[in-house]
Symmetry: C3
Subunit: 124 residues, 3 copies
Amino acid sequence: MDRTPDRGKGHRVIFQFVSPDEASQQALISNLKNLLAIWPEAEVEVVVHGPGIDLITASKTRYAQPLQQFVDHHAVRIVVCENSLRSKQLTLEDMLPSVETVPVAIIELILKQEQGWAYIKAGV
Amino acid sequence: MDRTPDRGKGHRVIFQFVSPDEASQQALISNLKNLLAIWPEAEVEVVVHGPGIDLITASKTRYAQPLQQFVDHHAVRIVVCENSLRSKQLTLEDMLPSVETVPVAIIELILKQEQGWAYIKAGV
Amino acid sequence: MDRTPDRGKGHRVIFQFVSPDEASQQALISNLKNLLAIWPEAEVEVVVHGPGIDLITASKTRYAQPLQQFVDHHAVRIVVCENSLRSKQLTLEDMLPSVETVPVAIIELILKQEQGWAYIKAGV
């Protein structure tokens, strides 16, 4: 009988973050904290695009520290849409150091769902 | 040949409700009414967290009656996140009588999707 | 070995659009453009309901042209909820010519997810 406590291993979730407002940023950070407190080994990807990009822009974000900790200590990836970067005349260098890119946010969200990841649209 | 009309049995959907505004509350109630009018036997769970909690707070909600009817007459459950209660210094006693709790809203949303439930992010 | 480039064939995604605001309309159009630029053969359905209906109302929309192009040149369908039409005292004739109807938006979103379509809640 498996008595290992469930630390979230094998659970996979993709968050879509597209909101410009502070309340939604705070809600996403809170969602991730609550999730990882119970499931520290859950596989998480946060797809940021459109007006959501402020959250991960180095010069604008108020959440550099918790985001870095999620990436450092958990199976969390933060990715930004290359189209969103271009349309805002930003580059990956303008983002927090933990951020990676995907070509098209919507395609990333589709591919992950096809692979069985749960999907959550973040923001209030 | 099965000529039984589809009353929604076997269909399962989880709604995430996190919005603070009246328009989103009204939209959720309307979504549930429209759904249950056609599929009265659908299995529905509404996961309320964060700023969405006003909808099910006894002293604040304008929708006590329709929510109670959904729970009484349909396979509808309304659950609130224990983290959200704590962070707002509320308890289950402050909620409508039909409300139950889950430990972490995000985990509930992931688990249900893993079990094949459809997911809908409510709110406008 | 299959060297055919992936033009999106076989990928299926349903967008829910329920937002009244211009920023969300613009985001949806941009999402669809970016998606179809890479996956021109992806199967896409946009389910419009509630306050989202302005986007496809002929007398109100600013996006008649891109929406028509999506439908004409891609495997894109745009559907509106019959309940939403009734509650706004509108008919299909008030909508853009490319729009079709579904009886209940929420049921359409559930059925498509049950059939394996990815789901994206549009809007910022």
